[in-house]
Amino acid sequence: MAISKYDLVTLLHGLAFGGFFLMAVYALGYQMFSDEKLNVNKNYLFLIIGIGWIILLLGTYVIYPWYKANPEKLLLANPNQAKWQTFGMEWKEHVAWISVILISATCHILAHFKKQAFEDSRIRLALRTFLVVAFLSASVAGIFGALIAKFAPIHGGALVHLEGWIP
């Protein structure tokens, strides 16, 4: 059960970290839109920020160069697939940053000014807006990432054998 290093890193970026990030943002948004008091640990908020930045930095400085090396050229060479790059990847690589910036600000405010955030309806409106935009932006990045990976998968690097991980 071997997987290439590039595939494994891409999976971690999208499925593991990206999946966690999307679910965490959704859960925060759910709490912000409900009338319940926000019940979340400060460390968890910082974890969400940290995971968001790991996703971005891994994506921009590790996976994106792998993608530009070959898969991008494959997409652009086929007129039926070129829009996955010219629209999908171009949108994804920018919109993901919007999501993480908004979540960083939101989590910082919730971690340090939770009481005010809930008592002031206008601050709460700002945070709700941030969470909705962040969730939609992250969803765009995730969906296009998953779809582009189907049409232009990133393979390469040493093989990682996963058999040892299975009991």
């Binding site: 994106y64 920018h94 919109v95 009481k115 002031d120 601050i123 941030f130």
Partner: protein, 105 residues
């Protein structure tokens, strides 16, 4: 609304994030329009101009956040106006990072 604690630091965080998003959009369009700028923004060549666009965005965002927090630490501001500016800047940032807009197609 809690009138006791100043909301300056909260407004600083909100407005700084909005500025960051707007700057991301503006730099994206600018890099697409100017090859020279795109080359200048290529801080890490395997990632292309994206490396410089995002690095500059983050740097400006953090600087604005720091400055505004220092300026507004003990102040309370009108969150209504902060929200209005926020919606405009986020809207523009989202628009400018949409490929049919920044690629001009």
């Amino acid at each position: 609304m809690n009138d006791n604690a100043p909301n300056g630091p909260i407004c600083a965080a909100i407005l700084a994030a909005d500025c960051g998003i707007f700057v991301l959009g503006a730099l994206t369009i600018a890099a697409e329009a100017s090859k020279r700028l795109a080359e200048a923004l290529t801080l890490y060549s395997p990632s292309g101009p994206l490396s410089g666009v995002t690095s500059l965005t983050i740097a400006l965002w953090l600087v604005v956040w720091f400055v505004l927090t220092r300026l507004w630490k003990y102040r309370s501001l009108s969150v209504k106006w902060i929200n209005l500016i926020s919606f405009v800047l986020i809207g523009l940032g989202l628009l400018f990072t949409f490929p049919p807009v920044f690629a001009g197609k």
